[in-house]
Symmetry: C2
Subunit: 428 residues, 2 copies
């Protein structure tokens, strides 16, 4: 605990320790909640209270005038738990990978470091232990821009093991930068699963005022335990409200904002479910929990490229990018186009054995190569169309299909993990 001297003195004078309930009044507002642990890299003048809503709030106290700090001994402090009580509760496995959800702000630089262990993360959310027998471990501790396909494979193996050992659900705290890619990869690799696998991130680090880390973790745990859903999905905040969440299919979700808590959006489908104080709304008929044994198919062809088409793109940009690759996904313009000079080179790539999949940089809507000349030329060249699949999901699925299917084109065009709408014959 490295509070500032001032704040440390004030807490000492109250004999306040972690887990005690404090009431803090500042700027005309009063916050009442449980004092949470303070970390080495956090602002020494900020204490973190867990509010009754389950939400953590960081309050600058140390050197501020007019901040009133009161111990509330009349409210019983929450029971200290060394270990969650086991036996009667569902076992939920938490597999840590790093990211903001498991991070601290270094107050000296304002920078965020991935420093929280999964245990520490769980200890930030004591309500988890009321709901479930939490079994947590750290698989990686990296920011998700450093997640590479080989990490997806390790993670899929770990998840499959947990599910096959009977975990009621697997939660994966994950950096948000590439959480959508990882979710899609797990969806393809895990295949049929008996119980839910939920990736959960945070846009604001765990010790920050209004961090979304505890609320997302708690909502994910509740959803996993209470709902009869067996999908790989992503749970994050939905809209500006503190207590609304959306659950997205792992293959249909994209980070659509750099910083908002509700950055994750389902594209081309409604979210699998939305969660509000009024309850849970399931928008799709998802797979139900069954007793299937997970037989993960983790092979990936890693030499696949994702290219966004741009007006100055030359055939050589494409040629260089696919040279040495075993597959390419293009985020074309509009319905799935590139300039006509490129068609010949795409054709050459396909006939040389390197499949090319066409998606749209519009993100929303389906590709359709039957409308314009460019599209028909691309179809003629053998380009694989994938309806309304996201470019990022197509990139992941192509890696997986190349390693797991004898007929990549058919596999790409066939929905297997909610990644696309039903095949429309006109596009084939």
């Amino acid at each position: 605990m490295s509070y500032s001297q001032t704040l440390s003195d004030r807490l000492d004078s109250l004999q306040a320790v972690n887990g005690d309930v404090l009431s803090v009044t500042t700027g005309g507002r009063t916050y009442e909640g449980t004092l949470m642990p303070h970390h080495d890299f956090s602002d020494p003048d900020v204490l973190v209270l867990k509010l009754k809503s389950g939400y953590n709030v960081g309050i600058k106290v140390g050197s501020e005038d007019g901040v009133d700090l009161v111990q509330r001994p009349e409210v019983p402090a929450p029971k200290k738990r060394d270990k969650p009580v086991t036996g009667n509760k569902p076992r939920v496995a938490i597999i840590g990978t790093g990211g903001t959800i498991a991070s601290f702000v270094d107050y000296r630089t304002g920078a965020v470091h991935p420093a929280l262990s999964t245990d520490a993360l769980v200890s930030q959310v004591p309500e988890l232990a009321d709901l479930a027998d939490i079994d947590s471990k750290v698989l990686f501790s990296i920011f998700s821009e450093n997640m590479a396909p080989h990490h997806w494979q390790e993670l899929a193996l770990a998840v499959a093991n947990e599910l096959n050992k009977g975990a009621e659900a697997v939660l994966i705290p994950h950096g948000t930068d590439s959480m959508g890619y990882t979710a899609a990869a797990l969806a393809f690799m895990l295949g049929e699963i008996p119980r839910p696998v939920i990736l959960v991130g945070a846009q604001r680090s765990s010790d920050r005022p209004s961090s979304d880390s505890p609320s997302n973790l708690l909502a994910a745990t509740r959803f996993a335990i209470e709902q009869d859903v067996a999908e790989v999905c992503v749970l994050m905040h939905d809209g500006p409200s503190d207590d609304s969440f959306a659950v997205h299919f792992g293959t249909r979700v994209r980070k659509m904002h750099t910083s908002r808590r509700d950055a994750f959006q389902s594209i081309n489908v409604a979210p699998l479910a939305t969660i509000s104080p009024d309850g849970v709304t399931i928008n799709h008929a998802p797979r139900r929990k069954s007793d299937v044994k997970v037989e993960a198919r983790m092979a990936l062809e890693k030499d696949v490229v994702l290219l966004q088409y741009f007006p100055g793109m030359k055939p050589w940009h494409f040629e260089r990018a696919v040279s040495g690759s075993h597959g390419a996904v293009i985020a074309g313009s509009g319905l799935g186009h590139v300039n006509k000079e490129m068609v010949e080179f795409i054709s050459k790539s396909i006939y040389g054995g390197t499949p090319v999949v066409m998606t749209s940089q519009c993100l929303n809507g389906a590709t359709n190569l039957g409308v314009y000349d460019t599209g028909r030329d691309l179809l003629q060249a053998g380009v694989i169309t994938v309806d309304d699949m996201l470019p990022e999901t197509a990139y992941v699925k192509l890696m997986w299909s190349l390693a797991n299917s004898d007929d990549v084109a058919t596999t790409m065009r066939t929905p297997i993990a909610n990644e696309m709408s039903e095949r429309r014959e006109m596009n084939v």
Copy 2:
């Protein structure tokens, strides 16, 4: 006119010619409007009526049962115009470039061809001549996925000439696939302009049921004449309503749906204006019309690449893409990240004289390289940050800056055409 025999006979029996008002009842609905010209490639059983709303509707009539076709001679047919009346009306220049807005459906294949001349397009919207003295010409007739940077230069020259010859406004019918890129390019190249330049597209071809071509053209003409706005902007439908439109800054707009009429969305700002039957709402204080002479700066460094970061991206992907290029824009993950292996190669590129600009594939929100280690390493390497600028706009601006500025980094970080929010010092 190549109607089917049945439809041709029915129209003949009414002695109906183009410009007459017809009432057509089908499927329980009655449409009343002006009979529009029929084109060779259109469905021979479909007639097109221009409704009072200014909206064109195609109705399948020929071989359908229960279709009632009535001539309405009591309604005066619109005046036939050989040429618009000149003299008292503002002169609006229309520079055709092709695209769906100037296209026909070939009913035999369902394919769309860019076949309409700008004159033919204008003749589809006779109301234009009531508003303005239309001066139209065709510069290109291509689908916009084939627009390349040299087209932007020709177009900028033509627009500058029209403005300098006194045109009250310049309208540019344009394919939607790359309309956002062209709009951004014009905004940078034209610099200060005296009167508006409006790009207008259509998602459904001119002779199609519910084409948005006439309504968009008409709304753009009205907006250009009636509003005191001197910006390069894009006008398209807004929402599902037939008579709502949005006017977007050319540097802030992106095609966000493959097929919807309201595919174009302003990103990170409100639209410049919205138009509804209730009137026009201007959301920003735009540049006002002035008597400035346009001095277009059309030079572009065309060897610039736009790369989307993906989890399996290897340093060699980057190296190959930038080799032979004079600049690169990366659509990084989240706040503007790539994996740590790439940083060294990005640094090498920058020190070798090839600037690298970081944007976000999230599209919404600003980049911020000060929060995480990866970002700070990228800043250290000399990556240029551009706040909330779209990747596509950054790509266009980098081409322009390399050819027009001695200090590319400063130019990139300084807003010059509404392309970004004011510079935030923390990002520099």
